[in-house]
Amino acid sequence: MKKKYFLNANIVDPLNSIEEIGGLIIGEDGKIEASGKKVNTNNIPSREKYIDLEGKYIFPGIVDMRVFVGEPGYEYKENFRTLSIAALSGGVTSVVTMPNTNPVIDNVSIVDFLKRRGRDKSKINIYPTASLTKNTEGTNMTEFGLLQNKGIIGFTDGTKTIQNTRLMSRIMKSAYDLDSLVMQHAEDYELAKDGVVNDGLISTKLGLQGISDLAEKIIIERDLTLLEDYNCRYHISQISSSKSVEVIKNRKQKVDFSCGVSINNLSLNENDIGDFRTFLKLSPPLRTEEDRLSLVKAINNDLINVIVSDHKPEDEESKRLTFYQSATGASGIETLLPLALELFHNESIKLSKIIASLTCNPAKILKIDKGNLNTGNDADFCIVDLYKPWVLKKDNLHSKSKNTSIEAKKLQGLITNTFVKGEELFKI
């Protein structure tokens, strides 16, 4: 690989508190040799060609902590190859995959298959999770230690929640012993039963069963109470309401944990569902504008650490149904960064904070050396034309499934190039 020089870029590297005009040098081994303002025409050999980025932005490659890939079992929705293409077009270079496949990722034998497929078919960094319980049934724990040894990065039942309090306490104790990361999708099943949208005026008007925000709050309260006694690595996958933010704020002083939010909950509210738009049937559901604003504020106050795409590809057939019957989830990996940048453009969140929530913060929780531009690290990064307006068309999406929650949305900030290990794998 030839050495590459990028100059005249806006470098944003939140881990190193860098937000400055400068350059980036990629070595022949695909590692970062230097980055920042110290890289300029004065210190590169005159015989070398360099690329003038003319003020475009360089961000570390996005680390997306919540991604559903259809392999194995649902290849018609998404496979590793299409996921990889979709991710790269969105500036995402590392993904944490959910175990809700068929079969479920719950034992050592399937991890080898997963890693092989990931390695052969995708060009991004794949970090698979395994389920917390066998077949995500919420009854018996999986082998955290053995699975971890095979390369599993963390444990979650993905779309499901551990309901049994005793089991949850035992999971935490085991996770403490083995230094495992536990990620919980917080929803009390009984309170949320049959629910498909936020419980409130919209559910009343549409005649749909609502999901109370208490269903989320109760599980978070319970888990954080347990965590006080069994202090393992614990991450709340996504929160959706101001009530949950309040709990997190109150518990932060007492106990150590991290928390994520889906870009959908951060950018949209329940009114966007309009006339039964099934592409906005999500879990957790979109809630009120007041809830959305509290989530934005929670990012600014470091109560929420991570923004995820909650990328859940679903084929058209499973969405062309009545709201009750249709599948839950939206495709989002390609639009995670552009949609997050909307929060910068409308002055809700500072740019470095947004990028930190998408890069070094998740990397820190996962204990991986990604999401930064450290010298000597793999050159995983993307180049973004930050102010370029464009319109999302679902037919232009690279993912196998086109169930985007933001069809026809006007966005600002276009990803023009994505590099993994110094190799340019996406170019617009």
């Binding site: 009984e190 039963k193 049959d194 419980d199 409130g200 005026l201 559910s203 009343t204 008007k205 549409l206 005649g207 749909l208 609502g210 006339d275 039964f276 057939e317 062309r320 149904l321 009545t322 709201f323 009750y324 019957q325």
Partner: protein
């Protein structure tokens, strides 16, 4: 009743009262009024929908609504086909959209749909070329029921504006309640919504109604008492302790009715659970109950809707 009358409806489909404006409502009600006399005369059949095809697509069991729509279509001279869902391809796994496409290929002029899922009629209307009339979707809307209720009130009380109207019972699961709230609110009534908190939808007060969990408080000085059926088939978990306790607190009995005005009328969309939400003698009291009149005027309202939306 000249069918060449200028079209006065703003929507292509009748999916819910929410979509209509006040002149739409007044137009439908005035058309319906004219059909009341026809239905009471000896020769009940006219031919303004001759050559038109009406398909009734009922995914949920229904006696009065389905027969009312069928009769309404036949009295106007339309060819009416009622789909028996139990024997249809839907039971074999066909989706609503595929069914819609199949029916659409038969060139109907109007489809009347009842479905257990809220929003099913909206989905159908996006996929067919003809007009769609909602005969009840999940717990969202039942527009013709609300229109016939309004027509009944108008027939008896000569006005709706300023009337105190109580809607009482299982509001949570009721599409009738929702459609009536939109319609009667639009027509200027003062609405009192009475239900145990377990059966009260969240934030319903934001629709511009007063809510009561004490029935006597809610019934105070009301002109109309509209009772709703307790929808046991939609209750998936314990909403109530027992029917007898419900009757004690929310059943319409002569002594509770005394809280309302002396000339208050009792309404019920049917079918009734006698002895659960309503005292059986009250239900049959011809001086107070207009339940049979509701059924009668239902046909007239549906004739008006079929005529208006077929012409659209």
């Amino acid at each position: 009743m000249a069918s060449s009358k200028a079209i006065k409806i703003s929507k292509k489909h009748l999916l819910g009262i929410q979509d209509l404006n006040i002149s739409d409502v007044k137009y439908i009600l005035s058309e319906a009024k004219q059909f009341i006399q026809l239905n009471r005369s000896k020769n009940k059949k006219i031919d303004i929908l001759r050559g038109k095809t009406q398909i009734n697509l009922f995914f949920e069991p229904s006696t009065r609504t389905q027969s009312s729509f069928e009769l309404a279509g036949k009295r106007l001279g339309a060819d009416v086909m009622s789909m028996n869902i139990v024997n249809s391809a839907i039971k074999k796994g066909e989706t609503l959209i595929d069914t819609a496409m199949t029916l659409n290929a038969m060139h109907p002029d109007i489809i009347v749909i009842r479905h257990q899922d809220s929003g099913a009629c909206n989905l159908l209307s996006q996929k067919v070329n003809c007009a769609v009339i909602n005969a009840g979707d999940g717990r969202r809307e039942h527009p013709t029921q609300a229109l016939l209720d309004a027509l009944t009130i108008l027939d008896r009380k000569k006005k709706i504006e300023g009337l105190k109207i109580a809607i009482c019972g299982d509001i949570l699961h009721s599409r009738v309640a929702r459609s009536n709230i939109y319609l009667l609110n639009m027509l200027g009534a003062d609405l009192k919504i009475i239900a145990p908190t377990n059966l009260m939808p969240k934030d319903i007060d934001k629709l511009g109604v007063n809510t009561f969990s004490n029935m006597r408080d809610g019934l105070k000085d009301c002109d109309i008492v509209m009772m709703l059926r307790l929808q046991n088939e939609r209750m998936t978990s314990s909403f109530l302790s027992s029917n007898r306790e419900y009757y004690e607190y929310y059943g319409l009995t002569p002594d509770k009715l005394e809280c309302a005005k002396k000339d208050a009328l009792i309404m019920h969309p049917g079918p009734m659970n006698r002895g659960i939400e309503i005292d059986t003698k009250l239900a049959d009291d011809i001086n107070k109950s207009v339940i049979k009149e509701q059924v009668e005027l239902g046909v007239a309202v549906r004739m008006a809707c079929l005529k208006i939306f077929c012409e659209k």
